[in-house]
């Protein structure tokens, strides 16, 4: 994974623009929309990453996209939305742990 490109220049600019414009419109929108925008950015990022990543990571990224799609559909149920966000955080952290060879108990 080290040194490989996660997204190309065009994709990076798309994400950059999305984040900057989201930062501005967030000033005019309900606070809960902030989570939605960040999730949309994460969904787009994972979509771009899928194009460039190794086959081993594609399943993880596809799962992330699927989770985000389901979550954004159920935002009206705040409690469920927050629970899903926590679960997504755990999934991402677990992936990082495994990628960095930290799985297993303390030694």
């Amino acid at each position: 994974m080290a040194g490989s490109m996660a997204l190309n220049e065009e994709e990076a600019y798309e994400l950059l623009t999305f984040l900057v414009t989201s930062a501005r419109i967030q000033q005019d929108e309900p606070a809960s929309y902030g989570s939605l925008r960040l999730l949309t950015a994460a969904e787009r990022l994972s979509g771009f990453m899928m194009e460039h990543s190794s086959s081993g990571n594609r399943g993880f990224l596809a799962g992330i996209q699927e989770d985000i799609e389901q979550m954004t559909d159920s935002m009206a149920d705040v409690e469920r939305f927050v629970t899903s966000l926590d679960e997504l955080c755990r999934v991402v952290a677990q992936h990082l742990v495994e990628q960095n060879g930290l799985s297993g108990g303390a030694s």
Binding site: E14, T17, F18, T21, R24, I25, E29
Partner: protein, 174 residues
């Protein structure tokens, strides 16, 4: 007419099938005939079909989940607001945007096109992308295209809404 109103939905997923110019013109005409405060005609429309422009619009519009084949941007002409000596905070200005938007969305639905409004965009970035002058403010983007058969992000209301549940007769009952 009531059937059109009942069956119109906000379309958040569209196919890449092009929208005919003549169809877009019908939608624009519906906007022109929308009721407006004092018949002052404070709105201006920017219609877009160029795929590159549409792609750039989407990039500066975080709320645009669609990839529309066409779009119409409804702008308030603040020079006209001044000409008619209308206070900038007059609610009629925003109501004009709403009536034109609804007319356009119903017109699109009547010719089997899907539509979806987007207000979550950077006004300044959109101004740059579409070369919109300072006297105009873009208020809403109406995405127009052919509805994808599936993959619609449906927002289900928490409780069922009927006209009766929204209405009080003669005096507000609370």
């Amino acid at each position: 007419m009531l059937e059109l109103i009942r069956t119109r939905r906000v379309i958040r997923s569209m196919t890449d099938k092009p929208v005919k110019r003549a169809h877009l013109e019908k939608v624009l005409e519906a906007g022109r005939w929308a009721p407006c405060g004092g018949n002052h005609r404070l709105l201006r429309f920017v219609a877009i079909q160029n795929p590159v422009t549409l792609r750039l619009m989407r990039k500066v519009s975080p709320g645009m989940s669609q990839r529309p084949a066409a779009a119409i941007v409804l702008c308030i002409d603040w020079d006209q607001v001044k000409v008619h000596k209308i206070p900038a905070h007059d609610r009629a200005i925003s109501i004009d945007v709403g009536t034109a938007m609804e007319n356009m969305m119903l017109a699109a639905h009547s010719i089997k096109l899907g539509s979806g409004p987007v207000t979550s965009f950077s006004k300044e970035a959109l101004r740059v992308v579409l070369n919109i002058p300072q006297n105009l403010s873009p208020e809403v983007i109406i995405c127009i295209g052919h509805a994808a058969p599936k993959d619609q992000m449906i927002m289900i209301p928490k409780k069922k809404v009927t006209w009766q549940s929204l209405t009080d007769w003669e005096r507000y009952a609370g």
